[in-house]
């Protein structure tokens, strides 16, 4: 029962968003998409300990792949998600073969460089991608049944369903031998090698899986917005998502979700009220979390109790 509690809370939260914010469904949908993206970073960074500031490379690849697939092959969104996931996975696999041999600052730089290269490629391939103008694509009804409406009901329910699937998948993975081995990788690559685990292939696998999920998030964003822009590859997107993850707490799925929801709400309301001071607020918030709550907000109850959680 206790294990199911977070799921029940999450379900209730999603339903509450739908019922309490019927006029803000587009915003609620963006939270869901971002949540999936942050989960993908959590898998790569929080579980496997692979430091990245370039996860947007896979997000953008997924978004463009889904849009191009819809424009030239089949406009059904669920198929588009599969294509987006595949594109994210392929980009992560190919870049991961080089990147996963590096670590630390070098790795961070390489992830940034890969995203920058992809952005430039998409910019250059204007005939295909529309370049800086963006690529506008009309997607068909979800599973041929539900048309995307401008109020955003279909978009929200669709994103919630996809988000639930991704979360379910990651909850499975987190408890699997693979998930355990990722935590091992993060904790001590030397020890992993000493127990005979193939460290490099395992890191590539983790990066690829994270890439697939980022690809799904990107594809989903393309579908609900009906548009893809070069900004899907941007450093800002990677960095912002990372801040959300750290805010919530790394290495735990709920941390990723909590951080995303809080950050997005804070941004939506605080930034609307005072865009300038928002930057002050976010800067201060990040520093407070790093200094005072390195485990993220999810570690707050434990910290308040005075004891450390086990």
């Amino acid at each position: 029962m206790k294990r199911a509690l977070p799921f029940i809370l999450l379900l209730a939260g999603t339903a509450a968003m739908y019922l309490l914010m019927p006029y803000n469904l587009a915003f609620a949908t963006r939270i869901l998409v971002m949540g999936i993206f942050v989960l993908s970073i959590d898998l790569v960074l929080g579980f496997a300990g692979i430091a990245t500031l370039g996860q947007a490379a896979m997000y953008g690849a997924g978004a463009y792949a889904a849009a191009l697939f819809a424009a030239h092959a089949w406009a059904e969104p669920v198929a588009g998600l599969a294509v987006g996931a595949a594109a994210g996975a392929v980009v992560a696999l190919l870049s991961g073969l080089v990147l996963m041999r590096a670590s630390g600052l070098t790795l961070i730089m390489l992830t940034i460089a890969v995203a920058a290269l992809l952005a430039e490629t998409a910019n250059r391939a204007r005939d295909l991608t529309g370049g800086a103008d963006g690529l506008r694509v009309a997607f068909g009804p979800v599973l041929g049944l539900w048309e995307f409406d401008f109020i955003g009901q279909t978009g929200f329910c669709y994103a919630a369903a996809v988000g639930a699937c991704v979360l379910g998948l990651l909850a499975l993975v987190a408890r699997s031998p693979f998930g355990l081995s990722l935590r091992g990788l993060q904790s001590s690559p030397a020890r992993m090698a000493a127990i005979g685990a193939p460290v490099y292939p395992r890191r590539v696998a983790a990066y690829t899986l994270g890439g697939a999920i980022a690809g799904i998030a990107g594809a989903l964003s393309a579908q609900v917005a009906g548009l893809v822009s070069l900004e899907t590859f941007s450093f800002t997107l990677s960095a912002e998502a990372l801040v959300m993850l750290i805010l919530g707490g790394t290495g735990r799925l709920w941390g990723a979700l909590l951080g995303t929801v809080l950050f997005m709400f804070a941004h939506h309301y605080a930034a609307a009220a005072d865009p300038f001071n928002w930057l002050f607020a976010i800067g201060a918030l990040v520093m407070v979390v790093v200094f005072v709550l390195p485990g993220g907000l999810l570690s707050l109850p434990g910290a308040l109790k005075g004891g450390r959680h086990d």
Binding site: L105, L110, L279, F280, V286
Partner: protein
Amino acid sequence: MTLLLNIALDGIAYGMILFLVAVGLSVTMGLMRVVNLAHGGFALMGGALAHWAGADLGLGFWPALACAILGTVALALPLERLVYRRIYGFGELQQVLATIGLTFIVIAAVNRWQGSALLPVPLPETLSRTVDLGFRTLPAHRIAVILCGLGVILGLWLLLDRTRFGIRLRAAVDNRAIASAHGIVTDRIYMATFGLGAALAALGGVLGAELLPVDAYYPLRYMVLFLMVVAVGGMGSVTGSFAAALGLGITETAARYLVPDMATFAFYGIVILVLALRPQGLMGRIA
């Protein structure tokens, strides 16, 4: 032949600007092992102070530059004490986040103070002239930057390799506990080094402004560029940053002459190639 000369000249001039804007980071990140994403923030402080001194106080270029460097150091030292001292022992990611947070605060502060428009520092007559080199002209400013870059690398080499301060700094970085045991006051050494990094950041921000114009969002716009130079050069090596800046500068300049639309690919391609083959950077020590 003229083309080759052009590439060499513009490449060195551009590379030297890259070196000047990144060398402060090479000091804080390379020597002190802090992934200091707020480096651009200190350069911005310098640029904004110089603009303020020039435009609002009516000072000339050189007094404005001095004002920028001193002002930035004056702001950096308390920050070292309050913020950086606490993050020296953190992991790379934590350092990245803490310094990104600091960068946001600096941007917001400058934005509030000076607005979001460009913050130019008008050059003095001596630097805004163009110098005739026979086959072409070159702005005097670029020549000054090249000389300044050479001066900085020489000065740092003397400081780090030839003085007691340098020896103590390297001892402090390599092993803080042992250095303390030998009576080296590591806190002061760290503070002085950090001040040096901030001063170099301000110098680079002001001198580099002709190519990398300063506005409130300067730190975010060029953060990746600074980091790339230092990462390619190798952590812990000022000489490495120098080589990387010149190498990247000449490569990108050559691409701009020969295949202008591929220049971005050339830049990132080289970065990926170098880091994939030598993860520790050109002259980095293996950790």
